[in-house]
Structure formats: structure tokens, C-alpha cells
Amino acid sequence: MNAAVLYTLMGVGLFSIGLHGFLAQPHLLRKVLALNIMGSGVFAVLMATAWRGPQLPPDPVPHALVLTGIVVAVSATAFALALLRRIHTATGRASLPEDTAA
């Protein structure tokens, strides 16, 4: 058991929590946040792979992948939030119709 394993476990935990929130929460803002939590989980798993031992320099490739992933996540989140506002303006609701009916 080392720090990297702990980070990986935290990552998969975050991913699962995020997925649960995504499926369980009808509110669109919560769904978008849940997707971000899932994304953070994947980032954590990826960051943990950079660890190679106490004395060795970390692997820069996962760092770069995570940075790219963050930018993609920012773009998708911003777009989703703008879309969410338009849906709220147009329908007066912030959830998908099938979730509200359920």
C-alpha cells in the first residue's frame, strides 16, 4: 500500500460517487456537477500513475493528459451550463421531462 494506490482508490471512489449522483439526481445542474466529480475521479487515477517511487521524478505524461482533460472538462461544463440556462428560460424547469414525470 503506497500513496499512489490510495490516490487510485480515491479516484475510483469519486468516479462512483459521481456516477451515482448523475443517475440519481434529476436536477440538471447536479448532473453537470456529478459529471465533473466523475472527471476528477479519472484525473486522480491518472495522476496516481505518475508516481514511480519516493526518490524518482514523476512521469510528466499523465500530468499533461490531465491538463488537457481539465481544459476539455471546462469547455464541456461551460457549454452545458449555458444550455441549462436556455432550457430553464424556455421551459421554466431545470430537469429533463422524463425525470420530472417520474
Partner: protein, 501 residues
């Protein structure tokens, strides 16, 4: 200039950038030249692959595993031609569609998208670039970026329709798309942690039966199935495809769902093939069968034309997955591989033509209620003809592309002794005939006197007809693409073509 392979990606990106800066008229010139340049580059690449086998391009001169490599074999080239030809004709159709649309204040059915319709062009170019980048990339993380590019472009295009239905459908599509990408991304992280490389070719030599690899396969497959909208993960597709503007529906149904299918094909047969047990392919095949039946039955029950066509896509996606239990390193395995991929090609042409014809009718009538289509056969004979021809390909009648695809799959099913897959193909064809005739019967009913009807630009009808003709005649020119598909294919020996009548 030997590197033809990079231009199908670089040219649409450059054109998208320039078209945002340029004026409306200049933008048309830029987009037109870009299309010509893409076709030229693709012709060069095809020649290279044809003569010298699969092509590689080491980006930045950094060999994998450090850098990213582009890779084109027969399958990539066939997919690139599919996206280029279908995408370009959809572009031609869109010229007429948006000109027609901005000519009025916008009707209830077509939404109020005169406002932002100029954004169709950069978004369409980005979508094109994303498709081409995906078909050419040989790096699993780079593929993740292309998936996100594709997903965001798709959703943005759906939202161009403006109305409430389109916004909600766009959100559902966005959430499904992001969830699918994240699942894929988790798989990438696990694969990197286990194998330490991202290059597809190097990965294929390093994967082993390891729990983390199993998990990566599972989550990547699930994510891509969600993006491909395979039953039962298809819930987001019909509303998104039916409520988008017609050219966008055509792009999404014809091309975008094929991208994640293509990626699945690559991963299953070229990366994970050593660790996947045969039963996994059977599961995908069964889901494919359920998709064919469920999609077709729901298509028969729709009241709106575009929803009918969208459910037909759900059904047609099923055929693609019949490939998985049948393909393999046997004589019939090669036929199944060719049949499945050829089906992607034939369906792209046919479904784009169908959505375009449906969009033309909707533009003429202002709605797409099935039971009020009477007289369309007289008013828009070219569009109805296009719809019928495309329908022939969906049913799988000769000499259409759909016929060849189904014939190859059927041949593989019978040769492998798994006749039940073949039975489903035939039932699916009959069901497709059912929903195509449902539309034709309505459209050829006598023209009611009191229906208001707006003339539509002829270019819309002609674009749809060209694609429908292509789908119809694809069976007669099947040998070149089928031969091309063999270059670099995982299953060599047995061209798959000798099975043809």
C-alpha cells in the same frame, strides 16, 4: 508533399477558423475550396494506401510511445470517404436549407434558427475535422479528445434548431455523450496504468488478461456503446436526431454514430482481440438483434416522419453489431468483417438521403406529421424518389449497398453455422420495408386541395437524390471499397468478395 494523411484534419480546422473571420460570401468560397482540398488529399491518401499498404505519419517527428501517430489503413480510408462524400453533399443541402429557412420568420415546426444559422458552417467544419481526426488517430488519449470534439460539435448543431424540444434533446444528448466519453477516459487511465503506453499498436502487444485491462475494456466498450446508441443505450438518439435541423439530423445519423462504432471495431479487433473471449462478441450481437427488432417496431409506431427515420437509425445500428459474433480469422470471418463495415457505408448514404428528403418535406409543409403527408409524391417527386431509393437500401434489396452488406453478413452467418443471425437480418429487412411503405403510402395519397405548401430550393432535392442514388448503386460498385477494406484488415485471406453473387 507525401503527407496527404494530415490534410483531411488540418484543412477543415483551418476553414472553420477562416470562415468565422470572413464575410458571408467569402466564407462560401473558403468552404468550397476546403471541400475540394479534402477530396484531393483523400484521393492522394487512397492511392498511397492502395499501392503501399497502411500509411503512418509520426506527428512532430516523435515516434510512439512518446509522440502521437496518425495511421490509415483500408478501413480508415473507406470511413474517410464516407464522411467526406456524405458530409459534402449534406453541406450542399444545407446551402438550400438555411437559405430557404431564413427567407421566412420561421415556422413552428422548423424552429427559429434563421438567427444563428451562419454558425452551422464552422460547427459543420469542426464536426468534419473531428470525424477525420478520429478515423486517423492511433493514440487512445488523442481519440478521447476527438470524441469530445465530435460530441460538442454534434450537440451544438442540434441546438441550432432553437425550440424547446431541440434544447432538451440537445441536453440529453450532451449528458449521454459526456458520460460516454468519461467512461472511455477512465478506461484510458487504467490502460496507461497497466501498459504504460497510449499508442494503439503498442498497446495491442502489451495487453494481457489482467483485472485492470478487463475493467478498461468494459468501461470503454460501455462508453462507446452509449455514444453509438446501441439498444438499450439508445434513449437519447431519437429525440436528438428528430428535433435537429434536417442537415444536422443527416450528419448525426449518417456519420457521428459511425465514429464511435469505428472506434469500437478498432479496439475490439486490433487491441483487445487477444484477451476477449468469443462470448463477448455474442453479447454485442444479441444487443444488435434486439436493437434491430426494437428500433424497427418503434419506427412503425411513430406519428412523425423524422422520428420514424430516427428509430430506423436505432434499428440499423443493430446490424453493425451482428459483425461482432461473426467476424474472426476464418473464411466467413472476413466476409462478416467486410459486410459489417460495408453496412456502415451503405447506411450512411441511405440515412443521410432519408433525413434530407424528410427535411425537404418538412420545409415544404411546415410539419412532418405522417398522416398529413398526402400529395408529397406529386409535389416533391424527386424527394419521394430519393426516400424510396434510400428505403430500398435499408430493406437490403439488390442492387443496393444494403443488399451487399446483408448478403455478406448472411453468408458469414450460414457458413459459420449460426443461421439465427441470418434470420434476424431477413426479419429486419421486412420490418424496414414496413416502415418505408408506411411513409410512401401516405405520400402517394391524392393531393388535398386545401394544404398550404411552400416551394423549396431545388438544390435540396438534388443533394438528397444524389446520396440516395449512391446508396442504391453502391452494390454495383462494391468491389473497390471491399478490396480497400482488406488493406490492413485484422482478418486477411478470403476477400469476402467471392461470396457476392
Amino acid at each position: 508533399m507525401n503527407a496527404w494523411i494530415v490534410w483531411p484534419v488540418v484543412v477543415p480546422l483551418a476553414a472553420a477558423t477562416l470562415s468565422v473571420l470572413a464575410g458571408q460570401r467569402m466564407a462560401r468560397v473558403i468552404i468550397g475550396s476546403a471541400t475540394v482540398a479534402i477530396v484531393g488529399a483523400l484521393a492522394g491518401l487512397t492511392l498511397q494506401v492502395w499501392q503501399n499498404g497502411p500509411q503512418r505519419h509520426v506527428i512532430g517527428g516523435w515516434e510512439p510511445p512518446l509522440g502521437i501517430q496518425l495511421y490509415a489503413d483500408g478501413l480508415s480510408v473507406v470511413m474517410l470517404w464516407m464522411s467526406t462524400v456524405v458530409g459534402a453533399l449534406i453541406g450542399v443541402y444545407a446551402l438550400g436549407y438555411f437559405a430557404h429557412d431564413s427567407g421566412t420568420t420561421g415556422t413552428a415546426a422548423t424552429g427559429e434558427h434563421g438567427d444563428n444559422s451562419e454558425l452551422f458552417w464552422p460547427l459543420w467544419l469542426f464536426l468534419w475535422a473531428a470525424l477525420h481526426a478520429l478515423f486517423l488517430s492511433a493514440d487512445i488519449f488523442n481519440l478521447y479528445v476527438t470524441l469530445e470534439l465530435l460530441g460538442l460539435a454534434g450537440v451544438a448543431l442540434v441546438n441550432l434548431a432553437g425550440g424547446q424540444l431541440a434544447l432538451v434533446a440537445g441536453m440529453r444528448y450532451l449528458l449521454a455523450s459526456l458520460l460516454g466519453s468519461l467512461a472511455y477516459f477512465l478506461g484510458v487511465a487504467f490502460l496507461y496504468a497497466t501498459c504504460g503506453v497510449l499508442d494503439v499498436r503498442m498497446l495491442s502487444t502489451r495487453v494481457s488478461a489482467h483485472p485492470a485491462v478487463w475493467l478498461a475494456i468494459a468501461v470503454m466498450t460501455l462508453g462507446l456503446l452509449l455514444k453509438t446508441a446501441l439498444f438499450p443505450l439508445h434513449f437519447w438518439l431519437p429525440p436528438a436526431h428528430a428535433n435537429a435541423p434536417a442537415p444536422v439530423s443527416a450528419l448525426l445519423s449518417a456519420l457521428v454514430v459511425k465514429a464511435s462504432f469505428y472506434l469500437l471495431l478498432r479496439l475490439w479487433f486490433q487491441v483487445f482481440s487477444v484477451v476477449l473471449p468469443p462470448v463477448a462478441g455474442q453479447v454485442l450481437g444479441i444487443l444488435g438483434v434486439l436493437a434491430i427488432l426494437w428500433g424497427s417496431v418503434l419506427a412503425l409506431r411513430q406519428q412523425r416522419l423524422k422520428l420514424l427515420v430516427a428509430y430506423s437509425t436505432v434499428a440499423q445500428i443493430g446490424y453493425l453489431f451482428v459483425l461482432f459474433p461473426l467476424a474472426g480469422g476464418t473464411a466467413w470471418g472476413a466476409a462478416a468483417w467486410s459486410g459489417g463495415t460495408f453496412h456502415a457505408l451503405a447506411h450512411a448514404c441511405a440515412k443521410a438521403a432519408m433525413f434530407m428528403a424528410a427535411g425537404t418535406m418538412m420545409a415544404a409543409l411546415g410539419h412532418d406529421h405522417l398522416h398529413e403527408l398526402a400529395g408529397m409524391g406529386q409535389r416533391l417527386p424527386l424527394s419521394m424518389f430519393a426516400f424510396a431509393l434510400a428505403g430500398v437500401s435499408l430493406m437490403g434489396l439488390p442492387p443496393s449497398g444494403g443488399f451487399v452488406a446483408k448478403w455478406l453478413l448472411l453468408d458469414a452467418a450460414l457458413a459459420s453455422g449460426q443461421w439465427w443471425w441470418g434470420a434476424v437480418l431477413i426479419v429486419g429487412g421486412l420490418l424496414a420495408a414496413g416502415y418505408v411503405f408506411l411513409v410512401l403510402r401516405q405520400a402517394f395519397a391524392p393531393l388535398p386541395a386545401d394544404v398550404r405548401y411552400r416551394p423549396v430550393p431545388r438544390v435540396m432535392e438534388l443533394a438528397a437524390l444524389s446520396l440516395a442514388l449512391l446508396a442504391f448503386l453502391l452494390g454495383l460498385m462494391a468491389i473497390p471499397p471491399l478490396t480497400l477494406l482488406q488493406i490492413g484488415a485484422p482478418f486477411v485471406g478470403g476477400l469476402g468478395t467471392e461470396a457476392l453473387p
